[in-house]
Assembly symmetry: C2
Homo-oligomer: 340 residues x 2
DNA sequence: GACTGGCACTCGAGTTGCGCGAGTGCCAGG
DNA sequence: CCTGGCACTCGCGCAACTCGAGTGCCAGTC
């Protein structure tokens, strides 16, 4: 409706100034800092309209204006061009990630890098098992009734679980088990394994069926149910930047949310096609995070997506910069994974 | 010197009241709540002495007294009897830890449990590799020039690393490598392995020496240098209890310290005989933590120690309770490890 | 000599009142 | 439709003040 170009320009200016200064911005300061080509009075009228439409608000009468969640949303959707990263930043990313020796290392470096670049809380999900395929399954005898099951996925993830066997089993039998299990499952997508595992049980000789069933149940747990849920976190200290001003006075709810893996997974794990997702304030389903914004995206080798990563900060954040950084880091990580 | 029994009793009362109320405690309130059998005036005299000796101080004239770090220290050393845990707490610990399926699970459950029981930040170190022995080494071919090295330690820890081979290597050769490596290293303390690894290189046939050297260097890195450093953290949100009052106004330095694994390891990793260690305020070498206290202890199967765990909170903490909980949890975890 | 009651004193927290100034809304004029 | 001007609002910061908790000290008592 009444949102002509200048009003949008005013909104952009408000968002930018507020993000930069952390203080409500008034009409006068606005025309001084931006070349809007009109007088403060005009800007005031525009502001009145913007306020009516719900994009900005006054913390109290006789204070400047502050963007609302809806204002940020509009800003992100229509007003912000994604900033290109500086060559220096690109080089920093490359250098930082280059030395990684294995998946754990990649994930840890990534999460720290992301926290450092965005100066916010970073979250990186390990490559999701449900999007991986089995590369190899290893069975290591620990005692006559105990096995260590080690699964190596094509994404580099390694999961292990202890298996208690119902009857003592010889080393040869273990080798036999391993051969069979690998023959059946190697190369398969984890999502496709449940029927195959069942088949393994059905096909095995009656006297070994019990053992196989036992192994199978652990396999299913490891492969499908549990531990999709691994992730890394960094930069919590960044929450304290900007005093207690952000997050309406208390870090508590945010810290609590950050401790819940389930919540974090919801935030960054729901990865669709390679879009970057931005959730602003109230848009977060989680109550504890209604004062925060989350920028997340998927990553993976090539165009496939194996996991999510993202950043969490105050609604008052530098969206263009953050989005650019998150995207860039995701792409570099994807490239890195592709090399393996 | 002049610290007779009553003065100590006064100190104890001050610490207990201050911990409970978080407010400076005055002479009048003190005699009301505790049966000291003397008048406020007498208590005041005692307080004056205690202050002179450096055990308590006044935040400002005309306020009550607050324990100093030295006061807490004396309290912990001489005044506090360790509280016994309630049966309910014991049961909670047992129930909580019972369902663990593997080491990762044990560690995660432990750290959450500890955070919950003490209502503070909990840290648990994974069983230190340097205190473990090799149970098994597994080599899994990924491609002709790449291996996945998986080490399983007797403590249940599993570490993996990717190995880049200088020359393509056949599956049979890999099997041969595995056999040799296991023959040499299985059962050995990790601390003793470096010379053995070197021997492996020296003993291998010239044409394979290059490959073995490559594997050896990764082995050394995995076994000795890196990744001793794994730990789990929980309960950060508990830092916000008691408002911004604790930690002299800013969580920032504490959160920063918590992000540094090296620092945390210093805090809880330096485990001596089974004593519980309490570091109060300034006693922490780390500047960021001079407003915090750390209670830590070692854990492990039986009497051996394989790792450390502990709790971090404001200097104003319930030491007897925290110490009791930390000890109890450590013992239960140790028992759990002993079963494997 | 140790403890106690009394008393004067200190000083931080909370309250009130006040002036300043940033920022607004509105209106009349270009 | 924009602009300059003007009256108005209201939060912030400052100063003055009161209140009361808590102290230190001293003289008296057991």
């Amino acid at each position: 409706m009444s949102l002509d170009d200048r009003k949008l320009e005013v909104l952009r200016a408000i968002v930018e100034d507020y993000v930069a200064t952390q203080e409500p911005v008034g009409s006068k300061a606005l025309v001084e800092r931006h070349q809007l080509g009109v007088s403060p009075a005009t800007v005031r009228n525009d502001m009145a309209v913007l306020e009516e439409e719900g994009y900005i608000r006054q913390p109290h009468t006789s204070a400047g204006r502050v963007p609302t969640d809806a204002g940020y949303r509009l800003f992100v959707d229509r007003l912000s061009r994604v900033k290109a990263l500086s060559p220096a930043e690109r080089r920093a990313i490359e250098r930082f990630l280059a030395g990684a020796v294995d998946l754990d290392d990649v994930v840890h470096r990534t999460v720290r890098l992301l926290a450092q670049l965005t100066r916010q809380v970073a979250v990186v999900q390990y490559p999701s098992l449900s999007r991986s395929a089995v590369r190899h399954l290893e069975l290591v005898p620990i005692s006559s009734t105990r096995l260590m099951l080690v699964m190596i996925a094509d994404t580099g993830r390694v999961e292990q679980r202890l298996v208690e066997l119902p009857v003592p089993t010889s080393n040869d039998d273990v080798l036999d088990l391993r051969r069979k299990v690998n023959a059946k499952l190697s190369g398969e997508k984890l999502a496709d394994t449940p029927p195959l595992v069942q088949a393994l049980v059905d096909e095995s000789a009656p006297e070994k069926r019990n053992t196989m069933a036992c192994l199978a149940s652990v396999l299913l747990e490891t492969l499908v149910e549990r531990s999709d849920e691994r992730l890394a976190l960094a930069g919590t200290a960044n929450l304290t930047r900007g005093g207690v001003l952000d997050f309406q006075g208390s870090l508590r709810p945010v810290l609590e949310a950050l401790e819940e893996e389930v919540i974090l997974l919801k935030l960054i794990g729901e990865v669709e096609p390679s879009t970057t997702r931005v959730r602003i304030g109230d848009e977060n389903e989680i109550d504890n995070l209604r004062a925060a914004s989350v920028v997340s995206t998927g990553y993976g080798p090539g165009t496939t997506i194996v996991g999510g990563l993202g950043v969490l900060g105050p609604t008052r954040m530098d969206y263009p910069g953050t989005i650019a950084t998150v995207r860039a880091v995701a792409r570099y990580v994807g490239d890195l994974l592709a090399q393996n």
